[in-house]
């Protein structure tokens, strides 16, 4: 995304580009990580969010193109997430079924569905989501481009503190935490782990679908088969990094978004060497986080007690 105006700004341009990239690239991370956080708080791991992301992106783009309304596209993306989440939620709670195996299957299923139904929508352009321009004061087109914020980002940024409050001050939030930490205790209190987990997985998937919509209707704003940079999978690492705290998910998503923007930002000032290395920044960050947070000595504080367990 380099332009003469941007290169003219020099290193300020890099900072601006990273700032813009943080918000743009962070939006899908934000929705997928909040969705995965919600799911994992109830004790289930949903690796299939990568497939849900793609399905969300495709359906948002398709509906936006067919009906002319991008917001309807966002809604349908969420609904497609609900449907995929229902499959994952039901399947992964059957006896002796492993979360990770179902998740991988759902990645293949979701992305397959998305690519199959999405073929006719690769060429045409669909109406994009409106953006809010904060840079009216600036003449510089680069600055203007950088400070165009999507309402989806604002929605996500408000969702993080809402989820945090939800987990501590609502009955449903306590139910989800109870089921995720100790399903035996939850059952003893009359809570049904199956129902709670089913709804959590579906809600988390709904959010991931919206994350996918932000990819095709905001940034990069197209539909191709290569639109995802693995945000769905990285979200799992992100949630661990954020210690299952929605507010920290917000910060971590911005970090990952910024890491993703590093390559193009540096390119805009003409640094072409090491292009692939900089583009690998988010993945290297994921690896580093996983290595730093695993330990044979300690269990991770904040991890829901029943996460990944097959019994109950």
């Amino acid at each position: 995304m380099s332009s003469p105006a941007e290169s003219a700004l020099g290193w300020w341009g890099v900072l601006l580009a990273i700032l813009a990239g943080t918000m743009r690239g962070g939006t899908p991370f934000l929705f997928v990580s909040l969705g995965e956080c919600l799911t994992e708080k109830s004790g289930k791991i949903n690796l299939g969010l990568e497939g849900t992301l793609l399905m969300g992106a495709m359906s948002a783009y398709a509906i936006s193109y067919l009906t002319g309304s991008p917001w309807l596209g966002v809604l349908v993306a969420g609904i497609s997430g609900l449907a995929l989440g229902a499959i994952h939620g039901w399947l992964s709670q059957q006896p002796r079924v492993n979360d990770v195996a179902v998740g991988i299957a759902m990645i293949i299923f979701g992305s397959g569905l998305a690519f199959f139904f999405g073929k006719p929508f690769i060429k045409p352009t669909a109406p994009q989501l409106p953006t809010i321009d904060l840079a009216g004061w600036s003449q510089n087109p680069a600055v203007e481009a950088a400070l165009k914020i999507s309402p989806l980002f604002i929605l996500g940024a408000l969702l993080a503190p809402f989820l945090h409050w939800f987990f501590s001050s609502t009955r449903w939030g306590l139910y989800i935490r109870a089921v995720g930490d100790s399903p035996a205790a939850a059952r003893a209190m009359g809570i049904s782990p199956f129902k709670v987990r089913m709804l959590s997985v579906m809600a988390g998937s709904f959010l991931a679908g919206i994350g996918g919509a932000s990819l095709s209707l905001y940034y990069p704003g197209v539909w191709t088969e290569r639109i995802s940079s693995g945000q769905g999978l990285m979200a799992v690492a992100l949630v661990i990094f954020a210690r299952w705290n929605p507010l920290q998910c917000l910060l971590a998503s911005l970090l990952f978004g910024g890491a993703q923007a590093l390559g193009p930002a540096l390119q805009s000032v003409g640094i072409k060497e090491g292009y692939y290395l900089f583009n690998a920044a988010p993945y290297i960050l994921t690896l580093v986080i996983m290595i730093l947070t695993c330990s044979p000595q300690r269990t991770l504080t904040g991890a829901p007690g029943a996460l990944g367990q097959e019994d109950a």
């Binding site: 001050s169 609502t170 009955r171 449903w172 306590l174 139910y175 935490r177 109870a178 930490d181 100790s182 035996a184 205790a185 939850a186 003893a188 209190m189 009359g190 000595q297 300690r298 269990t299 504080t301 904040g302 829901p304 007690g305």
Partner: protein, 516 residues
């Protein structure tokens, strides 16, 4: 923890209802857990349900609580028959249960757990200001207190148990069912809690049904007792009319003299196990064992007493090689011991860990293979790199007979066996070697019936008489007082009391278990 007697509350106190169970039958596949069992809990009484492990007591109360649905039988509350299909229904009728394994969510605080346990599903939002007020009022008027803002995972076992009882009182249960509530409490705490509940029962606010196998609790606190054996009702009566011997006879089906195992005085006493300043951490990085030192000599049983969760599990894991120590040394026969297989074989160290199916067996492997785990790499069961399966099978057949292991065949996977027989399998493997120097046993009789317990105790004392050094870690104080030559109390990872059994002071031991 201050204790206050219950002050009269502003709301009207309902009398506890009358509970009658008639002809309850429950089958699990071919196993008949309950067979036409009836129970009558009169309002305002303290009723004990007695029976050894496997008698059906837990099954009966789980049917009352709605966890299981019985195959036959009726429950009547205040004379009207009703169906209890889930714990919610039970609560609706005022019945609450305190479980043996804690049913609080570890990551949430006491306040959150108490609020969560109320069933009014209408509310979406939790008004924390109002809830705190309600909780504070409740704590003021309850018999014992627990701090409200501490996560459950950080509470001691005694506090967790008190919280479980408080939860039921908070839910205004009028019939309280307690499933072995004192197994994780020190003797002092157990007495404190039971007498406070007894006061509430005498005041007519509560009915209590307590499941226990301790006669002392029955005679001291209960008014009526119902005895189950192998799923059937075998006895019932008022406690004042029955002696301990009568109750024991009903429980076990025959008048038994408790066999006292004779201990032989030892001649040569040499130190076998020496632990110097050992420390170890728990899984979450906190200190579990804090600079402990002890010596176990040949031909003696050293007992370590303590409430669960005070570091004994981690200590045994370090000695067995399952956990790294953070500092300190272990010496066996004067040589440094790092719990490698070679050292175990050289120094003849054997162990009976707790939860044998998890810690001493490979569940999917057969009985024969499990029995061979100590010897499969030595002749005659191995020749070079080959296993001599015939030798393994023969050895297993002999051990099964010698130790009376009930198993369909030696090829059965060991997880198919009952708890007692898994323990006998492990015992057979560990105690059948000709020369044993050191035996480390942890809660060897947990969850077993009297016959198995007697057998294991006899085996341990016999080993001691042969000159084996035995370290016995147990949460059952009675077992330790019966078997040990020396007794040590562990609390918060430290040894707080040590004494030969002849001069052991019971009250000092209780105080040490509570951490004083």
């Amino acid at each position: 923890m201050t204790t206050t007697t219950a002050a009269p509350t502003a709301t009207a106190v309902r009398r506890p209802p009358e509970l009658e169970v008639k002809g309850m039958t429950k089958r699990f596949g071919s196993l008949v857990a309950l067979d036409q069992v009836s129970l009558h809990l009169k309002p305002g009484t303290f009723h004990a349900l007695l029976g050894e492990n496997g008698a059906g007591k837990s099954t009966l109360v789980k049917c009352i609580m709605g966890f299981y649905s019985p195959d036959h039988g009726e429950i009547e509350i205040d004379g009207t028959p009703c169906t209890i299909a889930s714990p919610r229904d039970a609560h609706h009728h005022g019945i609450g249960m305190v479980y043996q394994h804690f049913t609080s969510v570890p990551a949430m605080t006491v306040a959150e757990n108490l609020v969560l346990s109320r069933f009014d599903g209408s509310q979406f939002l939790i008004n924390w200001a109002k809830e705190r007020e309600r909780l504070d009022d409740f704590m003021q008027s309850s018999p014992f207190q627990v701090p409200l803002d501490v996560p459950i995972a950080q509470l001691a076992a005694g506090q967790k148990q008190k919280l479980e009882i408080l939860k039921q009182l908070y839910l205004e249960s009028k019939i309280l069912i307690l499933d072995e509530p004192t197994s994780v409490l020190t003797p002092d705490e157990a007495d404190e809690i039971l007498s406070l509940l007894q006061q509430q029962v005498k005041a007519g606010d509560l009915s209590v049904l307590i499941i226990t196998h301790k006669f002392r609790e029955v005679t001291q606190f209960a008014e009526e007792v119902t005895v189950l054996r192998k799923g059937q009702l075998v006895g019932h009566g008022l406690v004042q009319d029955l002696s301990v011997a009568d109750m024991a006879e009903m429980m076990m089906g025959e008048r038994r003299e408790l066999k006292v195992v004779d201990k032989v005085t030892q001649e040569d006493v040499t130190p076998v196990l020496e632990v110097h300043d050992l420390s170890a951490n728990k899984d979450n990085g906190l200190v579990a064992v804090n600079n402990v030192s002890l010596t176990v000599n040949s031909g003696e049983i050293v007992g370590i007493a303590g409430v669960s969760g005070n570091g004994q599990k981690e200590l045994v894991e370090v000695l067995a090689g399952q956990r790294p120590s953070t500092s300190g040394q272990i010496k066996i026969n004067g040589e440094r011991y790092l719990a490698t297989r070679k050292e175990m074989f050289k120094h003849r160290v054997f162990s009976l860990p707790e939860e044998p199916l998890k810690n001493a067996c490979i569940p999917q492997m057969s009985v024969a293979e499990n029995m061979a785990l100590r010897t499969f790499d030595q002749p005659p069961q191995a020749k070079g790199i080959w296993l001599i399966l015939n030798a393994i099978r023969q050895a297993a057949k002999g051990l099964v007979q010698q130790f009376s292991v009930k198993t369909p065949s030696i090829e059965t996977p060991v997880h198919n066996l009952s708890g007692g027989n898994v323990q006998r399998t492990v015992l057979a493997r560990e105690l059948s070697s000709e020369k044993i120097n050191l035996l480390i046993a942890a809660n060897p009789c947990f969850g077993l019936d009297f016959a198995a317990v007697e057998f294991i105790h006899a085996q341990i004392v016999e080993a001691r008489n042969r000159g084996v050094a035995v370290l016995l870690v147990s949460e059952d104080l009675d077992e330790l007082l019966e078997l040990s030559d020396r007794i040590i109390v562990i609390s918060s990872g430290q040894f707080l009391y040590e004494s030969p059994i002849a001069s052991a002071d019971f009250s000092a031991i209780s105080h040490a278990m509570a951490g004083h």
